[in-house]
């Protein structure tokens, strides 16, 4: 890279990088936390209502929730952004900026993670659940002390996958002025041929993703016995 290009790269990064990091942190922070909470909850709803083990006569609820999730997952993210604008406005009072971008990101991440949670729960040994049910434990206790515990490693792997997916999706937050590192890479790297900026931001993304993966793997391993 010539020294002029290098200078331009450094210049852009000085102006934009910290802000981008902050924006990404904000967007991911919000949507990741929300997806953990609601995705987990929705995943449990899908699982608990799917058979006769926990609730009877909830197949229709299950089908409704599942269809709802599928509808959201069917919508291309860019259109999801538009569809969620009214909701975004109601929730955060604005349709632009990283916080506004967090709304569609959260929605997409929630339904995505919900499916991974559902899948993880379905892998829990039926005998163990049966034994828990036989103690007369309440559903909530079984959820907390059996399902969550047994599915924990798979759920953690799902969290890692969701996080990494979110990092990818958040690159599209630029649409609504959300900014962020992914957007930096696209705007400067892709549209403006600032290869230096692009490489730098991608390296940053790779580091973040790699760290997330390592942390996720380690936690999953710790939780497996």
């Amino acid at each position: 890279m010539s020294s002029q290009l290098l200078e331009s790269t450094i210049n852009i990064l000085q102006n934009e990088f910290l802000k981008s990091i902050y924006e990404t942190a904000l967007m991911i922070g919000i949507s990741f936390s929300l997806s953990l909470i609601f995705g987990l909850a929705l995943g449990f709803v899908l699982y608990l209502t799917s058979g006769k083990t926990f609730f009877e006569k909830t197949i229709s609820l299950n089908k409704t929730v599942s269809a709802f999730i599928n509808i959201i997952r069917s919508i291309p993210f860019i259109i999801l952004v538009v569809f969620s604008l009214p909701l975004t406005f109601i929730l955060v009072g604005t349709k632009i900026g990283p916080i506004a971008a967090s709304v569609p990101l959260s929605i997409a991440a929630i339904v995505f993670f919900a499916r991974l949670v559902e899948s993880a729960l379905k892998e829990v040994d039926a005998g163990v659940i049966e034994a828990a049910i036989a103690t007369g434990a309440s559903h909530s206790l079984i959820i907390r002390n059996v399902l969550l515990v047994e599915a924990a490693p798979a759920i953690v792997r799902g969290i890692t996958i969701t996080f990494i997916n979110l990092i990818g999706c958040s690159a599209m937050a630029g649409m609504v002025g959300g900014g962020g590192i992914g957007n930096l890479a696209i705007q400067y790297g892709y549209y403006r041929y600032e290869t230096g900026v692009m490489i730098f931001t991608i390296v940053v993304l790779v580091v973040i993703v790699q760290l997330a993966q390592l942390t996720g793997d380690r936690i999953a391993k710790l939780l497996t016995h």
Binding site: V128, E130, A131, A132, I133, T135, N145, E150, A152, H225
Partner: protein, 336 residues
């Protein structure tokens, strides 16, 4: 206390239907130690699982304390289950939770206060001899240790009913005895009703008040343990109970001894010195015990001896046999 009424459980596969439990009628009394035995696949586990409705019956009813439970659900079913401990054939421990937490789980299920859980779990661990394994996870336990955790979990809430599905199959005789002793002690404290599936006849003998024998889903015999072991009626019971002496006694011995008789003591005569008496009365006939077993079931002796009559006077033999007839059940063993 527990009453099965015309209970059937059927499983369907593709198009075929399999009847695992077939019109069972049975009443188990409060405070009874009730055994269920039967060949592999006879339907024992399936039957027992209907008591806490882990298995919904296809038809028929299950009454517990007079109430038909087959349509229980929700909180009502949970309350029922809180009073029923169950030890599973495959242990079914939470593999990502410690031994401690596995046991604590049952206590949490019954909303036991935390303080009390902290007191009770160590007690239970002590009871099953796993005090030093509290912080291990099930995959690091040996087979028997897992089973003992399952036992501790089932006992945690002082259940009124305890369902044991081969609860001691992975335990060595010493540990088995301890578990049985523990169950006996519990029974002495309060009238727990125990339904116990086992293949271990030792366990059956020393534990049960009554025993049901299952075969191909049917209940083929129900009797007090003593009666069952002393005089099994059904083929299934005989197959389970009589250790097959013809196989156990070496061929050589069977061929050598010409006059082999199987004698079974009658309850009243069990303590009489039968062999001493015979030996003195009939001096030309020696009685040698070839094989046998005398033990106590429900505090009453059951005896079964294979004896060889070595006589130097064929006529006397008749008298010996008729003498023995008065004191015992006796039958000639065909050398075959």
């Amino acid at each position: 206390m527990i009453r099965f009424e015309n209970l059937s459980v059927k499983f369907s596969h593709t198009d075929a239907e399999y009847t695992a439990v077939d019109r069972v009628n049975l009443t188990i009394n409060k405070g009874e130690f009730f055994g269920i035995v039967g060949a592999s696949g006879a339907g024992k586990s399936t039957l027992v699982r209907t008591v806490n409705l882990l298995q919904k019956p296809t038809s028929g009813n299950v009454y517990i304390n007079g109430e038909n439970i087959v349509n229980y659900s929700g909180q009502k079913l949970r309350n029922l289950r809180l009073n029923i401990g169950m030890i599973f054939q495959h242990f079914n421990l939470i593999s990502n939770a410690t031994v401690y937490d596995n046991i604590a789980f049952a206590l949490k299920a019954s909303s036991t206060p935390v303080k009390e859980i902290q007191k009770r779990v160590p007690e239970l661990l002590e009871l099953v001899g796993l005090a030093d394994k509290a912080e291990l996870f099930p995959p690091s336990l040996s087979g028997g240790q897992k089973q003992r955790v399952a036992i501790a979990r089932a006992l945690a809430n002082n259940p009124q009913i305890l369902l044991c599905d081969e609860a001691t199959s992975a335990l060595d005789p010493d540990n088995t005895k301890e578990v049985i002793q523990t169950l006996r002690n519990i029974k002495n404290h309060y009238p727990i009703t125990i339904l116990f599936i086992t293949h271990q006849m030792e366990v059956a003998k020393s534990l049960f008040d009554r025993i049901a024998v299952m075969e191909k889903g049917r209940l083929v015999e129900v009797a007090p343990s003593y009666t069952l072991f002393a005089t099994p009626q059904s083929e299934a019971a005989k197959a389970l109970i009589s250790s097959d002496y013809k196989k156990a006694v070496p061929k050589k011995v069977l061929e050598q001894e010409k006059d082999l008789y199987m004698i079974t003591y009658k309850e009243e005569g069990a303590f009489d010195p039968v062999i001493s008496d015979v030996s003195r009365k009939f001096l030309n006939t020696d009685l040698s015990i070839i094989e046998g077993n005398i033990e106590y079931v429900q505090d009453k002796p059951i005896g079964r001896l294979l004896i060889s009559l070595r006589t130097r006077d064929e006529k006397e033999k008749e008298s010996v046999i008729s003498y023995l007839h008065r004191k015992t059940f006796i039958s000639r063993l065909d050398a075959e």
